[in-house]
């Protein structure tokens, strides 16, 4: 029997998800043994044309990481959707937009202007910007179009499964790989479309071992300003922890190491908007009723929007900041 075909692709991402796959240690050999890896730009030398030459649905499973930031990302998302039976948004960028998605707090024009004109290390008196097409004697050279708004994978193509995390934890990847192999080998039914794989339904707080006393706070502190109690909930000590608004499944690694949850697994099941859920959670611990007092306390959060939406802005309810010229 021919081996099932596996593709991995990175769109707008850092490469951490690829490393997470390699971090599955010996499991990666099992993956390479069970599957025929047909496309994996990070690790193997296949070209886009190799994928274009495939039949529709020829790839059994594509693990797609990275956000959709430019026309090349979009082109590959479409291509891999067409060629794959199962397309999985792998990692926070593909699932929710993640760090590249923070660009939705600004515009493409502002980014290009800073990079090519305003940044202190730039010398560009003629204000030259990259053009998407440029004619040379040999023909026309082209580069991808840079989008104004970063999208997550499900906003541009149909996605079958989602595996969140920045990156997805190797332990969880191993379990998902085992499940996939079991399904393919033994003909087990696939989970329902849209299932979130390799993560919990509930919030990170659910697997956090710290004691929650439902204590309220008068002000937020930054982690370096206090020596946090190792046993007690970080949020109750005034450290902004995204745990209440974040999907569990990572094993609460950060909070166990004394670092507040940053929210990389995205919103929990049945939560649409991570920032809005965090607003609710914060309201629950504030020891203040007066709006101006509340404003003063939340003004103590450095970069509230960047913190609340660090991993999920493109997939949030409002998707981007409205930047008026």
């Amino acid at each position: 029997m021919a081996k099932p075909k596996l593709a991995l692709y990175w769109a707008s991402s850092c490469g951490g998800c690829e490393i997470a796959v390699l971090d599955t240690e010996l499991k990666v050999l099992e993956i390479a043994d069970f599957f025929d890896i047909v496309f994996w730009p990070c690790a193997t030398d296949f070209k886009y044309d190799d994928v274009r030459a495939m039949k529709d649905g020829e790839i059994t499973l594509t693990l797609f990481n990275g956000a959709i930031r430019n026309s090349e990302n979009y082109e590959l998302a479409k291509l891999l959707r067409q060629k794959s039976v199962v397309l999985c948004a792998f990692g926070s960028c593909a699932a929710d937009g993640c760090i590249p998605g923070l660009a939705n707090f600004t515009t493409a024009e502002e980014i290009l202007r800073y990079v090519y004109e305003d940044s202190p290390s730039t010398v560009n008196p003629e204000k030259i910007r990259p053009q998407t097409e440029y004619a040379v004697p040999e023909g026309v050279l082209s580069i991808p179009h840079f989008w104004n708004t970063v999208r997550n994978l499900s906003q541009v193509v149909d996605v079958d499964y989602i595996m969140p995390g920045c990156p997805p934890q190797p332990d969880q990847i191993k379990l998902v790989v085992d499940a996939v192999i079991d399904i393919l080998k033994n003909g087990k039914p696939l989970p329902p479309k849209g299932t979130v794989l390799g993560a919990d339904e509930r919030a990170c707080c659910d697997e956090c071992p710290r004691k929650k006393d439902v204590k309220t706070i008068k002000k937020f502190v930054r982690p370096h300003e206090i020596i946090p109690d190792p046993e007690i909930c970080l949020l109750e000590q005034g450290i902004l922890c995204m745990g209440p608004a974040t999907r569990g499944g990572c094993g609460a690694k950060c909070v166990n190491a004394g670092v507040p949850c940053r929210g990389c697994y995205g919103p929990p099941a049945n939560v649409r908007d991570q920032g809005a859920k965090m607003a609710s959670a914060i309201a629950g611990v504030l020891d203040a009723d007066d709006p101006s007092e509340i404003d003063a306390i939340i003004a103590g959060i450095p970069d509230m929007m960047g913190t609340f939406y660090r991993f999920s802005l493109p997939h949030s309810t409002l998707r981007r900041k409205q930047v008026r010229a």
Binding site: K78, E133, H145, A276, A283, G284, P291, M305, K321, R324
Partner: protein, 150 residues
Amino acid sequence: MSFEPRLVGFLCNWCSYTGADLAGTARMKYPPNMRVIRVMCSGRVDPNFILEALAHGADGVLVLGCHPGDCHYAEGNYKCRKRLPITKRLVEGMGIEPQRVRLEWVSASEASRFSEVVTEFTEQIRVLGPLKLEDWTFDRAAADAQLEHN
């Protein structure tokens, strides 16, 4: 055509919705711009309800609840009172005027106050103008056209 604000109102069942009802039976006048959604308590209003309303075409969102101390569930309106300032900061952080979101207390007997609040809020949003979200939807045709060119 002149701009007619499209407003969403979340009204608590026990005070504000009854107050709105009274305004109706008393034949008081107020602008018809607000679509009322009855909730059991202003404490039921998840901040995301407000964001969803703005994302899907509302120009402003009004949350009405019982006066402090009058909540049918003792403390629901206190929860709402804590959430709203943070929600307004979220809305502001998304580049939308925070004045488009407002929390007011209207009791079951305050029909005239209800009509005043709705009138005033409608006028405020009328001055602010329509909320037009730029680049919210994914323009597939434009994205596909870029692929044709390259």
